[in-house]
Amino acid sequence: MSNNDIARDADNQPMAASGTAVAGGADWKTCDGQQLKAMVQAGLAWLNQHIPLINALNVFPVPDGDTGTNMYLTLEAAWQEIAGRPERSVAPITEALAHGALMGARGNSGVILSQIFRGMAQALHDAELLDTNLLARALQQASATAYKAVIRPVEGTILTVARRAAEASVLAAETAGNLREMMALVVEAARKAVEETPSLLPVLAEAGVVDAGGQGLYVILEGMLRYLRGESVEAVLEPEEEVILHHPEGPEEGYGYDVQFILTGENLDVDRIRADIDAMGVSTLVVGDSRTVKVHVHTPEPGTPLNYAARLGSLSKVIVENMQEQYEEFRGAGRAAVPPPTPVPFQSVAPQPPAPALVSDIGIVAVVPGEGLAKVFKSLGTSAIVPGGQTMNPSTEELLSAVESLAQKKVIILPNNKNVVLTAQQAKSLSDRDIRVVPSTNIPQGISALLAFNYQSDLDTNVELMTEALGNIQAAEVTRAVRSVKINGLQVEEGQYIGLLNGDLVSAGETLTDVVLDLLEKMGAEELEIITLYYGEGVSAEDARALADLIAERYPDQEIEVVEGDQPHYPYIISGE
């Protein structure tokens, strides 16, 4: 959307903007739904510029749980929901924005962001125009709703930033003469709150970072402010992350289809894929890692990117939308309503020989990275696998479609990652099925919970048994540090192997063997009965066997089991019980 469009909108809606304002120094006292859309779009673009920066703010230098990517994909989903909406009124736009964020929420920060939008939508449910007073009310409601999204709110996170922004907005609404001045005060409060996060959350101080989710929220608000100031949000900080924005007015000339999918494979070259896909269309978005890549492109030939990607790996969540049709529908061009795009039902990562299922009226959905682990979970009776966790955190919608793909009305979700637990809880609140979340935060816990499942027991009993089982297992994970850091009194150098025990970084070393043996010692392996090695990226079956032999020598009384996990990023996931 160009500045001229805003000016035109303003002309059409005299109340919307004061005087001859154009975006770029706009001093609107109010804004309408379409102008709000433009601000969101700017926030999205600005966030996009900062993805790598935000991703780098992980407390533990582990290569997953990317907050920047999660928040971007969440906001992107929200944007997709409003991009084609023609309403002038603010209420339906914020309503759609909240819905899009809710469905697209990924990771804890994404879920909280979606609750922020939900709060705003509630406060603006009958608003025609947004003014400074309404904005203050919306930000306060946003903060309150966000705090309610988590069971134990922690200060020094995105929640603090949302609250400080809301607090600042009260005074700002009184002193600011227009929305731009008000947003400037709000953004400044958010910036200060981000800076203070390390003093509120010691783990951040120790890692020498600010809170990633808080930074993400600040960046979004800043992007919106930049729009009001007429500043560019396209400044390319990271050339490889360049994204051409979607145009809300309608499809580009000749680009008739909106194509989205997730590609899973091995050794995927994200930069190469981005370049190739970009050559096939416009509005390219390619994010991900060597195992999972999310692709989004507008193209006249939807088959081209699909064929291209199918050669590189397997596709899931394929969505192809005819933008021309949608555009015409939105314009009210007298066409029959186009049904919403039907997402392809979520597939497990690999076809499985169907295990004769136990007869149960309870289905189990598990979020699992890697084909090997997916097979293990399937073999233990998981009804549907949502790939991801350590690579890409699944969205609320992905979890929901996995739930909806089941015949059972009662469903238990195993998130298997602490950054998926909130998303799973959000999915629960959005489904009419009886969903329960057993909050497993790693793969061994997920397996322990699965084993506790009894197909002859009822839902409540199973949830109780499975939740109890989470505490009956020790989980160790080995990966490589993505940056140098000193944490838990441990000096970690980038590229070193690091070991997490039950979620805490406790070990670092030059070789996998050193770190694994150290983890086992810290785990108290001599007291255990079974040690299971799930080997993943970069480890061959022979490597794993050799390590198991070494462990068996050191722990002769323990049973050592080696299982192919195929999980990305983590050469070993180890369970002790």
């Binding site: 299922a357 073999s379 009894n454 009965e529 079974i530 019980e577």
Partner: protein
Amino acid sequence: MSEREIGIVTDSAADLPPALAHQWDITVIPCLITFGSETYRDEIELPRQAFYQRLRATKILPTTSAPSVGTFVEAYRELGRRTRTIISIHVASALTNIYNVARLAAESLPELDIHLVDSRQVSMCTGMLALTAARLANEGLSAADIIARLQELLPRLRLVAALDTLEYLHRGGRVSWVASMLSSLIDLKLVVELKDASLRLLDKVRGRRKSLLRMIQHVLESGPLEQVALLHADAAEDAAEVRRLFASYTPPSGIIETEAGATIGTHAGPGAVGFCILTR
């Protein structure tokens, strides 16, 4: 040997220790075990130790079958020389056709008063019914009264076992859900329960010791124990460990220890340890 007026019969799938069977004058009809083309009478022609040696060595799973009608007729006639009234107590009719064969034999002997009892159980759960029947008969109760008492006991019987392998249960083909457990890519130990002639999965755990502990826990959670038997399928060491762990929970009646015979052993597989219990 008592001079009571009621004869008590059971089958070898009841796993009654031979000494107890002798002491209580209970006639045990041997089931048949077939390895390939060779058929043996349980225990009589194939002692337990020899059976488990073959079971562990063989690639072909042995099959178990009910004794012939003729075997029952012979046994009933033999008893009939001493007493007209016989109570014949057998393992679950839903799981084997032993009961049905006994019924056919009984129908062919209208001159005798044979009462059949379907224990809806196996192994020492059935065995405990036979022992109870013998005790009540010794006390002089009528057949009708004894059977009424046995009927009261049926719902209080429970078998809880920790299996070392699922292979035998699966190959035995009697339990459909086992197949889904076999596909597990990690090693699982199952704790199962037989109650009212159906086998249920109680727990699936990692590790042998954990499965034995879970089994004990399930037994203790069953309620106050009146009679307890501990049996094993060629797993004397584990059974001894279980007995040690269970020692302080032993009921006043003590614990009957026994080794699973070929019929139960073929289906549970070597290494299984189990409790047969009668709750109060």
